[in-house]
Amino acid sequence: MVRWMWRWSVCRVAVSRGHMPFCSTQQEPHNANPSHTGQVTHRPGNQLTLCSLLEMGFSETQAKEMHECATNSRGKHVPSVLTALLLLGLNPSSILKIMQKCPEVYSLKGADLQQRVDHLRKMGLVEGSLQRMISHYPKVMLLPIKRVNMVSRLLREKCLFTIHQVTEILRDSPEVLEEDLAELEYKFQYAYFRMGVRQPEMVKAKLFRMSLSELRCRHCFLERRGLYQTPDKKGQTLIVNPPLKDVLCVSEEAYLAQVAMATAEEFHVFRKLMAKEQEEEGREDEYSSDEDEELGEDKDDEDDDDGVHRRKRHWKTGYKKDRK
């Protein structure tokens, strides 16, 4: 089918050589670039023509834009790329949006793209979800198959998601494929050990859509307000934890109003404080302790001493304890 299309476009080129019957009805700019069209005619099949674009179903403006971007990208196999996309069943406007979102797609080889798409199909992304995923997140097409496999393996072997769950994760949060593997695992472990959430809930809550810092922020805010508890060894808590999807899948306003029941101002200040805490934990600074931790003390002091800032930062490390 691809070859048929190739020949077909060749024919078209030959026919329209010098004349560009369709294009002559276009505005001035096209006639003003004879060299452009000249180039096109010399290398049939590898280069994109406006006519072929129109044939594919693009409107004139769309075709113009695509043609311009394609030429700018210096992609050598743009027609085959577009063919592959068309084969997927994507309509021209979706394709245009994809190319706008991710111009790097122009630089791909059609064959590679096709392979990757097939691979994603193998991973369980059925028609419909596949198209949606690609439309939503075109970058996925840039990722080598090896990368996709690595992420999938991590999710299955280290995080113990089922294949179905992995598919769902890829469908809902394709950005997972670009994430650093260690950070991905960390995020999972945070949710698993620190929050006590299990795999099905993680998938339902689209855990991997959220950045780690935002996840931590929303969770710790709830925890410190007394609204979320890490389950004990038996998985029990004294309070009923809000479901993860209620925490993660909602807008910040909804989260604050319904789950945290706090003001936006509180949350924003808390976020700043968390960022600072994380930064300092990362640097593993050694601040000197409170002066009141002297031996023989009955009363702990609150005031500071000698004008020096003391920090009392103590972290629950139940999570880190379990971290592999």
């Binding site: 600072k276 805490e277 031996l295 023989g296 009363k299 005031d303 001493d305 920090r311 103590h314």
Partner: protein, 425 residues
């Protein structure tokens, strides 16, 4: 519940000296291979959730998260220091003196609906005319609300005196409430580590200051603090008397000696107990000690009352939210003072973090109006959301927990003998 376990190493101040360490202090977290099964911080938080959840209701979550985050410091300006532009430098960073902000406001608003009706006819004195009595010399700069910047360490001047002292801004409130007038003798019953003492000295109104703390080492630390902040001439024995004894004895030995008494009692130090594992008062080995705290606090307050002269003020403050350690202690002390000692103590106001102001006045005395104004002022200070990172509830975090201030005015204190005579008729 978030439990925070110490993983940082503590630098022991006395690391060079070898001392006998009482058993309960021996385990240092940095050396411990395992963490305690039930960290004391978790026990503390559980305790708070139970009692404060009921007490504070909707306010508790906001207070809880504020308690578990970094506290907000204030820079108490040291007027004894000659560091140039200390205040200007801080102001350049965006800080403002929270005390003068409040004094400059002219409005005398009464937002609390818990005001009892009897106060409405009390005369309202102009804030401006009363400003001198609200210790304007005490300056405490804080970063604006929501600004989480930290203060840099204080710089010394040419004689080595530091420019400011960092403490929790709320710690200054009891000192403001005390309202020290020029020439007063003041007793600070549980003074260490000395933040409030320093604030007292900033008023430049103290004729004679008696500073006491039970713990010897903490008293030494307080002494060192004062040495860093005061020029040598001010540390004279005749001006500042530092002792390290049981404050309860001072009630008897120093009966009716002081114009002002500050009783900043040992308490469960809520914020500290929620964050710091080491030597936490909520650990099981200290349960008895913790349960006996209210009794100790009552005794200390009683001693403070005894040490106050007729017409003087006593301010009781803690850094705990607990009613048991605040209202209950105050009530108990007042009734004991009446029954056992024949001293009538009038509870002037207690400023509570939920911004409910309870005032009990018997007459529209000008003195009481001053106190009322102080209440309002304190309340407004609370209302600026100082020390709190959340803008919602007007809470104020003292040192580690919340401030509870109760001021007493001793009116027409009768001695035991006099009251007994009256009973005959």
């Amino acid at each position: 519940m978030a439990a925070y376990v110490c993983t940082r190493s503590f630098i022991n101040k006395f690391k060079d000296s070898i001392r006998f360490i009482p058993r309960r202090y021996r385990v240092k977290t940095k050396w411990a291979a395992t963490r305690p099964k039930f960290p004391a911080t978790e026990l503390a938080l559980h305790n708070f959730d139970t009692s404060y959840g009921i007490q504070l209701r909707d306010l508790w979550p906001s207070i809880r998260v504020a308690m578990l985050c970094e506290q907000k410091y204030g820079a108490l300006i040291n007027s004894f220091s000659s560091v140039p532009n200390a205040i200007k430098d801080l102001e350049a960073q965006g800080c403002k003196d929270f005390i003068s902000i409040d004094c400059s406001r002219n409005e005398v608003h009464q937002p609390s609906q818990d005001y009892t009706t009897s106060h409405r006819d009390s005369t309202e004195l102009e804030p401006a005319s009363l400003q001198p009595s609200i210790s304007p010399d005490i300056k405490c700069l804080v970063f604006p609300q929501g600004d989480i910047s930290r203060f840099k360490p204080a710089r010394p001047d040419s004689s080595g005196i530091l420019g400011y002292y960092l403490l929790d801004a709320a710690s200054v409130l009891p000192v403001l409430a005390l309202d020290v007038q020029p020439g007063h003798t003041v007793l600070d019953l549980c003074a260490a580590p000395g933040g409030k003492t320093l604030a007292l000295l900033q008023t430049h109104s103290v004729n004679y200051l008696w500073v006491n703390d039970l713990s010897g080492s903490r008293t030494m630390r307080l002494h060192r603090t004062l040495q860093s902040y005061l020029p040598k001439e001010f540390l004279d024995e005749s001006k500042i008397h530092i002792t390290s004894t049981d404050g309860r004895h001072l009630g008897i030995t120093e009966e009716k000696s002081f114009d002002r008494v500050l009783v900043d009692v040992p308490c469960t130090t809520d914020r500290h107990s929620a964050m710091v594992e080491e030597n936490n008062i909520f650990k099981r080995s200290r349960t008895k000690e913790r349960q006996k705290l209210p009794l100790l606090q009552t005794q200390l307050l009683l001693a403070g009352i005894q040490a106050t002269r007729r017409g003087g003020y006593v301010v009781y403050s803690t850094c705990s939210l607990s009613q048991l350690q605040n209202e209950c202690v105050v009530q108990q002390a007042i009734s004991l003072a009446q029954q056992e000692l024949g001293i009538t103590v009038q509870e002037f106001f207690d400023v509570y973090l939920s911004n409910v102001l309870l005032e009990r006045f018997t007459s529209a005395d000008s003195l009481e109006s001053v106190a009322k104004l102080q209440c309002q002022r304190a309340k407004r200070m609370l209302g600026t959301g100082l020390g709190s990172y959340s803008g919602s509830a007007c809470h104020f975090l003292n040192g580690l927990g919340f401030l509870m201030v109760a001021a007493f005015i001793l009116h027409a204190a009768k001695t035991k003998k006099e009251s007994m005579k009256e009973k005959k008729f």
